[in-house]
């Protein structure tokens, strides 16, 4: 089963035959396999490895330093005793040394002592047995020995020690050693505690992993279940939150915010589709009825021609409405294909004013302009012209009055270019003004004039795409449309 996207998918072409509902997870293996795949497991594993490695390194460092320290202390003790005994040999004689050794041997933590003669025979000492490798036994060096104390019980294992050999003179040799069993015991304890600690850590990690995975999986499962229902059409459903403020809660909160927006858009879309259906069906029905009537009544050729001409005109109007709807949809979707470029808004407005000026005069009005020069915005010229054409068309259609004037102005306010189109007609009541930009909304005064009620929706979409704001104001008399667009940086 290949999940790699095909080229067609990557290009956004509709894919066939491999739709999989969102959140429908595949079950590979059993529960354990699912637990192992969780992020919690991976995190736990990483923490475990890092923690154990750190602990090991730390303990190894401490124990090796401690062992070295102990060794050094033992050596210092051996050196001290050796030099004392050598000094006694120098100032007195062998017997004085023997005395000293005997005295020292009484102490509970006595060192190991042995004096041998020139042929290596032991003369005195506190050991019953001393085993070492003669090759190690160089004077002044520390070497390991094994020994048994005098009066030790039979079968008792030999003790380990480290020792140093020194030459007393006259062929006598002195060996002083210190027991290292305690030190070895210490290392063993450390090793054992390390082993125990690791076992505890691993056990704790395992427990916390299972706990974490299960609680995380539970939340994920809940979210997946909710998403599936939402995908299935329950748009009002939201992802569960437990107000704990954890990552899942935050994620669910933002997804829920997104769902609110989607639901709102969806509702808007439905309303628009219904409006569109209604407003397109009405003229289509008119055309259909007209043709139907012609078919049934077989009118005179001149009448038929007139009827057909009207039918064609109605079809053309429908096509224009479609075009307008498509443009609005395209602009509202902020299509990336509409690129905004630095545009001389002053020149564009002046051109449009020149274009509309004769038509304004034709309906007995005057177009007065006040256009500040060299105002540049980032825009799409065709859309901007379309926007102005809609506003000027409206002003010509609805602005008739005694004043007989349409004002078009452009100036800057802060970092905005402000376009003002004002007529001196009857204006629009406050209550209705806000609805003017909705699709297919037409005021009673407009019903008698041509148009589909899409002009201001188009203007709103275009202004929105340019990052601007649109305000419909009561100019008393007349309607003033104020558009603020961000200036080019």
């Amino acid at each position: 089963m290949s999940e790699a996207p095909t080229t067609a998918d990557a290009l956004g072409a509709p894919s066939r035959g491999r739709s999989r509902p969102i959140g429908a997870e595949r079950h590979h293996g059993g529960r354990l396999a699912r637990l192992v795949r969780t992020t919690a497991f991976k995190l736990t594993l990483v923490y475990l490895i890092v923690f154990v490695a750190l602990s090991l390194a730390l303990i190894a460092y401490i124990s090796s330093t401690t062992a070295r320290l102990i060794d050094r202390q033992l050596e210092t003790a051996i050196d001290g005793e050796t030099s004392e005994l050598v000094a006694q040999f120098r100032t007195g004689n062998l017997f004085k040394v023997m005395d000293a050794i005997e005295r020292r041997s009484m102490r509970p933590d006595a060192s190991v002592y042995l004096i041998t003669d020139f042929s290596g025979n032991p003369l005195i000492g506190n050991v019953a047995e001393l085993i070492y490798d003669p090759a190690d036994a160089q004077p002044g060096k520390t070497f390991p020995v094994r020994y048994n104390r005098l009066r030790s019980e039979a079968g008792e294992p030999t003790h380990r020690a480290i020792a140093k050999l020194s030459v007393l003179g006259g062929g006598y040799r002195l060996l002083v050693g210190r027991d290292v069993e305690d030190r070895i015991e210490f290392s063993t304890i450390i090793r054992r505690s390390i082993r125990g600690a690791i076992l505890v850590v691993v056990a704790l990690a395992l427990v916390s992993w299972i706990f974490l995975s299960r609680s995380v999986l539970r939340k994920v499962d809940a979210i997946a279940a909710s998403s599936r229902r939402i995908v299935a059409g329950d748009l009002a459903r939201r992802l569960p939150t437990d107000q704990s403020g954890d990552e899942f809660d935050r994620l669910a909160d933002s997804v829920n915010g997104m769902l609110d927006e989607i639901e709102r858009l969806h509702a808007g879309l439905q309303e628009v589709s219904q409006n569109i259906a209604h407003d397109l069906k009405t003229p289509l029905t008119r055309v259909r009825n007209r043709l139907d009537e012609m078919l049934r009544h077989r009118p005179e050729p001149e009448d038929a021609e007139a009827s057909l001409a009207v039918a064609i005109e109605e079809c053309d109007q429908l096509i224009r409405t479609f075009e307008a709807l498509l443009t609005i949809a395209r602009v509202e979707s902020h299509s990336a294909r509409i690129s905004l470029e630095p545009t001389d808004l002053s020149a564009l407005l002046a051109d449009m004013a020149e274009f509309y000026e004769p038509a304004t005069e034709d309906v007995g009005m005057r177009l007065t302009t006040s256009i500040a020069p060299a105002i540049t915005i980032r825009g799409e010229p065709t859309l901007l012209r379309n926007m102005l054409a809609n506003l000027l068309d409206n002003a010509l259609k609805y602005g008739a009055s005694d004043m007989a004037r349409v004002d078009l102005s452009l100036h800057t306010e802060g970092d905005k270019a402000v376009i003002l189109v004002r007529d001196h007609g009857e204006g629009v009541a406050d209550a209705h003004r806000a609805r003017l930009t909705d699709r297919f909304v037409r005021m009673d005064a407009a019903r008698s004039k041509p148009g589909a009620g899409l002009g201001l929706s188009m203007v709103k979409a275009i202004v929105g795409h340019h990052g601007g704001t649109l305000d419909l104001l009561d100019a008393d008399p007349g309607l003033a449309v104020r558009i603020a667009l961000p200036l080019a940086p």
């Binding site: 096509i319 004769p358 038509a359 034709d362 012209r385 259609k397």
Partner: protein, 226 residues
Amino acid sequence: MKVLIVEDDTDAASYLARGLTEAGHTSEVAGDGETGLELASMNEYDVLIVDRMLPKRDGLSLIETLRAKDRQVPILVLSALSQVDDRVKGLRAGGDDYLTKPYAFTELLARIEALSRRKQTADFEAVYRVGDLELDRLSHTVSRAGKPVVLQPREFRLLEYLMRHAGQVVTRTMLLENVWDYHFDPQTNVIDVHISRLRGKIDKAFERPLVHTVRGAGYVIRADAD
């Protein structure tokens, strides 16, 4: 005029062919891009009408290939894609004009007639003459019956376009696109008012008007009154 229609929708193609025959032209139809390219490479046509979306080879690729072969035949691109950038793409590929479906047949006819004549009438002619009306493209002056007529720059361009296509119908959309380079659909009769102003300057004082309105289509400038 001999026209090649490259269009896969047989209904649309025969509608076009019938209309062209009625208007006194001959036409051939190619049902896909490859056939269209083959015919256009082999035969001489006055105009090509090419749909953008075609089986086997799409319209823009057909046009690009023809242009790469240095075939200069005028081409009208037909498309259901109506946005400005679609239009720009069609023209950039080598099309001479772009018309959006659905279209009025009169609009299409006016456009292909303008295209085909363009081949013959020189873009290089310095002076256009229609009857006793003269337009000097170099000095930007206009005179009728020897008397100078003062026009605004835009009026001059409007008259220039009409006179370049003297005897041919030009539609309001053609004027809007070619004189103003505007690509929107004004709801009011803006173009008509511009024409009537122009008439006021070049026709009003004279017995025989030159600019005529063609019902349901547009305007035509010609010397012989019908």
